[in-house]
Symmetry: none
């Protein structure tokens, strides 16, 4: 079942039976090097997480390391969910967007768009992103994009990405402090809080929008804000596959439009996330979406791991991991194409044996 968060069912129902291309946005921010700030990956190897996620969803193996990225307590990456869906009802294609990686994924035959963007620095010091340039690369990509399928599912893999997203929303003066999700069950608020306060202390009253984004954002957030605006005159429906980070992309778009006195046609954009995000008590995806001047449809896949006994997967239901690598959008795609919860569960289990 697909459940509605905002809007109505019509948009997502109109994508039933349609073919999707899956785009993975990958980037690194040095913010992830802050000890304890994220559990998305292997300690000491966190920067490899997007690289390994991309390899795993594309070819089913991780080349740049021996094992699938696991979080400290052993929560497997949500890339397992996205890969399971791709095996059960394949995406028309998978394309990879290198938005500033330490290590590029090692896969042949798959399109890797290289935007010549550097990994960003820690927001605790200054992310030092060429924000306007990254934004314009997103706009240009959308304008030149040719898609063979009926719509795009856009996922992301950015370790420490919820930290940069929350810092960005706060720096853009949204009252979002209680609305952001984290991949930690016991949100490491002290570490995160400290980093975010450091980041915010660097923002000056006089900073314009892009100066602010340059200091506290990440490449994925800024590029995708450009991508969404670049798609406005294209007839390509897009599913933002993610939780609070994708919501932050929309908050950035909202501020840009306010600055330009423009309006968004949200009729071809939806956000699709997981039940773990939608039902998360520590965040408020609906509240974040409702902070925008525009409305878009948002949905979640009514999927959990209640059908498995595997302890590593049970951790999802216990709130240890919630979203990432487009898992929510992939689950919605599966449900739109007749794939059952049972089938997805068994396929994910098969990767852990």
């Amino acid at each position: 079942m697909i459940k509605t968060i905002t809007g109505n069912k019509d948009f997502i129902e109109s994508l039933r039976g349609k073919r999707a291309s899956f785009f993975l946005c990958m980037s690194n921010t040095k913010t992830a090097d802050t000890p304890g700030i994220t559990q998305a990956g292997i300690p000491g190897m966190l920067h490899l997480t997007p690289t390994l996620d991309a390899e795993f969803i594309s070819i089913g193996e991780v080349r740049s390391l021996g094992n699938i990225a696991e979080t400290p307590k052993g929560v497997p990456t949500p890339a397992l969910i996205t890969r399971a869906v791709h095996l059960l009802h394949p995406f028309q294609e998978i394309e990879l967007l290198n938005l500033g990686l330490e290590v590029a994924p090692c896969v042949e035959y798959f399109t890797i768009h290289d935007f010549k963007i550097d990994p960003s620095h820690s927001i605790a010091q200054d992310a030092a992103i060429a924000a306007q340039e990254v934004f314009e690369k997103g706009v240009q990509f959308a304008q030149e994009l040719s898609v063979k399928s009926d719509y795009i599912i856009l996922g992301e893999s950015v370790p420490a990405g919820t930290t940069t997203a929350l810092a960005t929303a706060l720096a853009l003066r949204y009252d979002a402090r209680e609305k952001f999700s984290s991949s930690f069950k016991n949100d490491p608020s002290d570490i995160k809080h400290t980093v975010i306060e450091q980041a915010l202390s660097r923002i000056h009253e006089s900073d314009d929008l892009f100066e602010t984004l340059a200091k506290v954002g990440d490449n994925m957030l800024i590029f995708n804000a450009g991508l969404l605006l670049g798609l406005q005159n294209r007839d390509i429906p897009i599913v933002l596959a993610g939780g609070t980070q994708m919501a932050c992309v929309l908050l950035i778009v909202n501020r840009i439009l306010q600055m330009m006195e423009g309006e968004l046609d949200g009729s071809k954009i939806a956000l699709c996330t997981t039940k773990w995000v939608a039902k998360d008590n520590a965040s408020d995806i609906k509240g974040l979406l409702e902070m925008n001047d525009f409305t878009i449809n948002a949905y979640y896949a009514d999927f959990d791991f209640s059908l498995t006994a595997h302890p590593a997967l049970k951790l999802y239901d216990e709130g240890e991991a919630k979203e990432g690598v487009g898992a929510g959008g992939a689950l919605v795609y599966a449900l739109l194409n007749g794939i059952t919860k049972e089938q997805i569960t068994r396929k994910v289990e098969s990767f852990l044996q």
Copy 2:
């Protein structure tokens, strides 16, 4: 299993694995206001049936009323079957054809073709259809049609449509009195008979084909006759998803061709219906098809509700409902794509919980 009624298996086997667009033809005739003439819908709300059917197959909810259309004894609309198939193996797209509705369906994102046709009057008085015009709209639609999928499945929802179909066949001088199906188990022959006799009494020896259709037909029958002829020079295979009403469309096409001394290339047309129609003792779909000068392939889906204990669905097996909303064609599509009787049964049951 897909069983052959006329022709051979080759055409339908050639559609195995192909993608289909589902088109629903919706129209109202005031004939349905005759008390007791049809059970396709909610008493007093019969005119809403095609509207609700369209909403339910598209988005899975009925917007223009609180509940799914049920017949007086509680037989649920065959739209449940079509929706179940769409969930299990989605159609490439669903498009809605407004051929004269009292109330248009309330759905966004789905294409609704509005042909600016009025609901028709009761055939007991005079349906007063601009028959030539409706026919030409069908021809034109077929000639301009662009389809993204491999073939079309054409379903219909027209309350009292079996009455207008039988009246039309008789008015066109087919010996069809015993060959027509009804959605009633105990066919309300008295009421139906009376209405049909009233309709036929208005037909004069001097009436030409379109004058006859104008008096006793319905918009769906006439439009689709045009559509089939308009498709003749197009390379678009079409499945007429229905029983005796779709057979009547072919009987009209046959008379038009006789008038024009034309021939039909039936190689890209098939009729697909349910087992309940194919095995119905009170009607004779094969006999109707064999009245034409041309031959087309016809099939039925070997599906019944023997795997359920749900009393409302059992009524189908008891002959209370037989076909409609493209159910037969949808079932054939499901079987062509590896979906099982068990899966369809469970999915239909899930709507009634």
